[in-house]
Amino acid sequence: MAAATDIQTVNIIVNGIELAVPKGELVVEAVKRLGLEIPIFCYHPRLKPVGMCRMCLVETGMKNPQDGTIRMMPKPAAACTLPVSEGLVINTESDALKKDRKGVLEFLLINHPLDCPICDRGGECPLQNNTLFYGPATSRFIEQKRHNVKAYPLSDYVTLDLERCIQCARCIRFTEEISGDSQLAFRFRGNKTHPITFNETKFTSKFSGNVIEICPVGALTNRKYRFRARPWDLQTSEAVCLNCSNGCNIWFDHRAGKVVRINARTNEAINEEWTCDKGKFGHDYYNDEKRLETPFARTGDELQKADYATVYAKLLEAFHGDNTGMILGDSLSNETYITAQNFFTGQLGSHNIDYRFSANQAKGASTVDNSIASLELAKTTLVFGTHLADDLPIVFLRVRKGWFNQGTQVILATDRSDEVSEFAAHTLVYKPGTEATIAKAFAGQVSVADAAAKCGISEPELQAAITAAAGATVITTTSLNHEAAEVLKALDGNFNAYPTGANERGAQLALACDGLSALEQLKKAANGELSALWVVGVDLFSVGLPREEVIRALENVDFLAVQDSRRTETFYYASVALPMTLPAEQDGSYTNCEGTTQQMKAIIPPVGQAKPAWRVFEELSIRVNPRMPFSQASEILASAPAFA
C-alpha cells in the first residue's frame, strides 16, 4: 500500500467550501468528507461507476487558476463518475438540481409498481428513501405502466420481480466484477431492458445472495425471507458467520426469538461487504425441528428425557483416565475448546481430546502467512488442491479481486476445473491423489516430464505454470495431502494452509492434541478398546468417514456421551445426551482462518434447557474439583495464553 504521503491532493470547492481531496477521487465520495450525501442508485463503492441512473446529478464548474473566476457548466454532471480535478467546483444543492432529481425520480417511478406494502424491500428501500427526500409528491403519469413478470423464482434463494427493476445494473456488475460468473446480463434494450439469466435458467452463482443486498429496489429479493417479516418487525444484532472458516461479519436479523435473515456486515479486513450463499441462506439449523431441548439418558433401549444432575453423575462415573476420549467439532467456540481441554485432561486425566478426522490435518503444516485482506496484493498466487469458491468463498473473492484490480497472476492446480480456472493464467488439472507429485514438481524435486506423465498434465503446460509460479503466494487448506503441504511450505513464497472448519483455527490454538486424534479414537472405539467416548458438536456421520466404520465405533464403545444442538444421527447411539446452544444463543469467540479472533454475544434465547458447552464443562469441573468456576465467556478467553 502506498504511504499516506504519496497521495496527491487537489483543491476543489463544494458548495462554496474549499477542500483538498485525493486526486482522482469520485465527486460522490469526495463530498462525503463534508458530511454531504448525494442520492444514488446505480453507484456502488465496490463496483466500477457507470452513471446510469442519473440520480446523482450535480452542478459542476471550473475555477480559473489565474483570476479565480468560476465558470459553471450548462449541463449537470453525474457525480458518481466524475473524478475530481484541480479547481473543480461542485454544487450539490440548488433549485435546478432539486428539479433534476425530481425529474429523474419521476421517471424511475412511472414504471415502478406501487406495491411497497407487500415488497420485502419496503422500509429499507433506497428508492423509497430517495423518493421521500428528493422525489415529487405526485405523478403526472396517467398512462399504462409497463408490465412484466413478478415473483419469478430465479433460484432457490433469489426471487426476481422485473416490474420493480430500475435497470441500475448493480446485480449485473456484481456478477461480472466481483463473483465473476457473469450469470446475469441485460436483455433487450430501451424500455424493455431487464436483467436476467441466460434463457431464464437457474441463477447458480455461489454468491447470489449479495445481489439481493445491493439491489436498490425490491427487484431481487430473498426467497427464504420472502414475507417473513418487515424491517420494522426485526431486531438486528452483530454476529459472525460460522458456516466456514472465513468468519464473515454479518447482521443477524431476528424476530420473536427466531432468526429470519442474515445480511452482510462490512468488515474491510475480512469479507468487505459480501457473504457467500452458504452463509447467507444457511441458517435453517437455528429453527430446526430436531433441536435438542433437554438432556437425555438411556434406560435400556430407550433414550429418555432426564435432568442435568442425572446426566452429570453418569458422565463423571464413566469418564476418567486415558481409556476415554473426547471428539470435538471444528466449529465450537474458543471457550469450549479451552474449558474442554482443562476439564478433560486436567480433571479427568485423559489426553485423548481432539478434532481431526483426516490424517492430513497435521498441526505442523497449518501455517498461515497472509491475512485475507493482503491476498489481493499478491503478485502471483498459486491455488493448490482446493476449490476456493466452495472451501473458502471469501478468500476466493479476494483472490479474484486481486486479479481483477491489480492483475494478480493466478495459477490453479486442482483435481477439477472450477471457478478459479475462469480467470487463472494457468490451470493444471491433476489426477486425484497425485498432489504430492505435482507439489514436488513445483519444488523441483521431481522432473517436470515425470510429474506431467504421472498427474495427467501436458508437459509444456506444467512447465509454464511452474515458471510462472516462482515466488507465488500459495493458498491451500489444512486438508491437503500432508506431504504436498510440507513441500509447498518450503517454497520461496508465502504459504497459507487455511483451515476450513469454522473454528478449526481456534481448535488448533486451544487444544494440545497430544493424545489420540479423533480418527484414531474412532478406530480404537471400533475395536472396543475405548471405554467411553464424548462427542461434542459434531455428527460423526457427516465428517466423510465410511458409515460402517462409524457405526462400529459407536456400537462398540461402552459409554457414549453426545453433546449437540440437534438430534443428529450420532445422538441415537448415545448413552447420555446434553443439549448445546448455537453460536447466536451464547457468548463466545471464534478464530477465523487468518487468525482473527472475533467475539459474539448471545442474541436470541437458548432453546429449551440448552447450555453453552463451556458452561457444562465448568459445572462438571467444579463437581470433580471444587473451585470458583468461570461465569463469563470473556474470563475464559482471558485465561488462555494462546489467545492473548
Binding site: F186, R187, K192, T201
Partner: protein
Amino acid sequence: MSELIQLGSHNERPMPPKADELNLRFSEQAIKELEGLKTHYPNLKACILPGLWIAQREYGGFLDGDAIAEVAHRLSRSYAEVQGVATFYSMYNTVHNPGKHKIEVCTCLSCHFNSAYRIRDYVSKKLGIKNGETTADGMFMLEEVECLNACDRAPVVQVGDRYFGPVDEKSIDALLEELRASEESTVVKMADQIVQVQLKAEERVGTIR
C-alpha cells in the same frame, strides 16, 4: 409483449447447460471463419458480434438458446452476456423465428410521409400476418423497422441484403412472387454475406454475391 418472459412459468428453473452438454452445430466452414475473425481483434469478446452473425447463418436465421450458447462456448464468454448482446441488436433474430424471408418495411420519417404504413398494411393483409409475425408456412415475416437510410428511395423495403424502393402495391406483389419462387432463404443469405464481407480475401471460405 412477446419479448418478455411468459408469465405462468413459475416453476423451478432448469440448470444452465454445462459445456459438455452443448449440441455444437457449427460447420467446418464456420469454425474456419471464426478463427479468421479472431485475428482481427485483440480479444475474443470482440468476436461476439461477428460470431453471432455466423451463428445466425448456421442456425437457419434464428438465434435460439442453443445458438447463443454455442457462440458463448466458442468464445469463452458467459451465456448470459452473449444473450444480452444478441438481444440488444435488432438484426439478430432472437425472439421470433423469422422464417425464410424477413420483409422489413421502413416506416421512419421520410418513408412514413411517403405512405410506408399503407405498404405495411398491404403486406400485412396480403400475407395475413401482423407486424412481427411469421406466416404459418414459415415463408415470410413482416417487421416494421426504423430508418434504413435510403430516404431518397422512400418508401423502402429491405429483404435480406437487398433494398427495394420506392415500392408500391404492384412492386410488392412482384417482390413477394419472386421471393416465393426463390429457393434460398434471404435471411440466411444476409447473415452469410455479412460474415463474408468482414473476412479478408485469404480468410474467406464462401463468396461475396
